[in-house]
């Protein structure tokens, strides 16, 4: 490795910048969703392994710790979805002015918050279907 300073070096950035925050949170939520993919495949493999194996897996999947994980996954999905769409719009060459970027950052936070609240409400009112 070279001794040149290589980007990104988080310790020197001003963390209060909305540009940096929206970007790093998108990356962090992406990593959380990658972990969520493992959980999804674990669930699919349990279903494929038959009713008895699925019952055993449900005992694991309904642990309190994992319920917190599902809430986190809904939150990270909501954010990554909106932040990802923001990136796609940028990639088309639109919304790159500072004022537009500030507005879209606020929209991403607001939109993902509303979606997250809506999804949690839906999940809670789905009626005894929690795994």
């Amino acid at each position: 490795m070279t001794e040149r300073p290589l980007s990104p070096h988080l310790s020197v950035y001003r963390m209060s910048r909305y540009t940096l925050l929206t970007s790093i949170v998108n990356r962090a939520t992406g990593l959380v969703l990658s972990a969520g993919l493992i959980l999804l495949v674990y669930w699919l493999v349990a279903i494929a392994s038959g009713p008895a194996a699925y019952r055993a897996a449900r005992a694991v999947l309904s642990l309190g710790v994992l319920k917190a994980v599902y809430v986190i996954l809904l939150a990270t999905f909501s954010y990554h979805l909106f932040a990802g769409i923001r990136h796609l719009i940028w990639d088309s060459g639109h919304g790159l002015e500072r004022s537009q970027s500030q507005r879209s950052a606020a929209l991403v936070v607001l939109g993902s918050l509303l979606l997250f609240i809506g999804l949690v409400w839906w999940a809670l009112h789905a009626g005894g279907r929690a795994p």
């Binding site: 490795m1 290589l6 980007s7 990104p8 990356r27 992406g30 990593l31 969703l33 990658s34 993919l37 493992i38 999804l40 495949v41 699919l44 493999v45 279903i47 494929a48 392994s49 038959g50 009713p51 699925y54 019952r55 449900r58 809904l74 999905f77 979805l81 990802g84 769409i85 990136h87 796609l88 990639d91 999804l119 839906w122 999940a123 789905a126 279907r129 795994p131």
Partner: protein, 132 residues
């Protein structure tokens, strides 16, 4: 002879691979997979929350529907692909030392392939009626 305004060789310009040596392929497939994942993930979350129950019989009947299996397979494959591309850049940015970087990248790639294959095979087994 026309004078070039940049320092790239004519061959380099034609190949279009830039300083990353692989052009825009990574960038492009990351975008392509993200566009596909918008409807796929929304469909999955909505479907999951709409299921009347999540016991084995209900879930296997749901996956047994042709289009459920198709979309689930697309979700797992596209999700694993997008995740692999994303994890790759995170490793490239934050894991230092060429040895550690290459090892982490290899492990992450293997892991994503295992997750994708296991997911697809599980869906196929259920969809084809092999999950009892």
């Amino acid at each position: 002879m026309t004078k070039s305004s940049n320092l790239r060789s004519p061959l380099g310009r034609v190949l279009g691979h830039g300083s990353a040596k692989e052009g825009v392929h990574h960038w492009w497939v990351q975008r392509l997979s993200s566009v596909a994942l918008v409807p796929l993930t929304v469909w999955f979350v909505v479907s999951l929350l709409s299921l009347p129950a999540i016991d084995h019989a209900t879930i296997t009947a749901w996956i047994g529907q042709l289009w459920t299996a198709v979309f689930l397979i697309l979700l797992v494959l596209t999700g694993a692909w997008h995740s692999q591309l994303g994890v790759r850049v995170v490793v490239e940015d934050y894991v230092h030392g060429s040895g550690a970087k290459a090892l982490t990248l290899a492990l992450a790639t293997f892991f994503h392939i295992v997750v994708a294959v296991a997911g697809v095979l599980a869906i196929l087994k259920v969809a084809l009626g092999g999950a009892g």
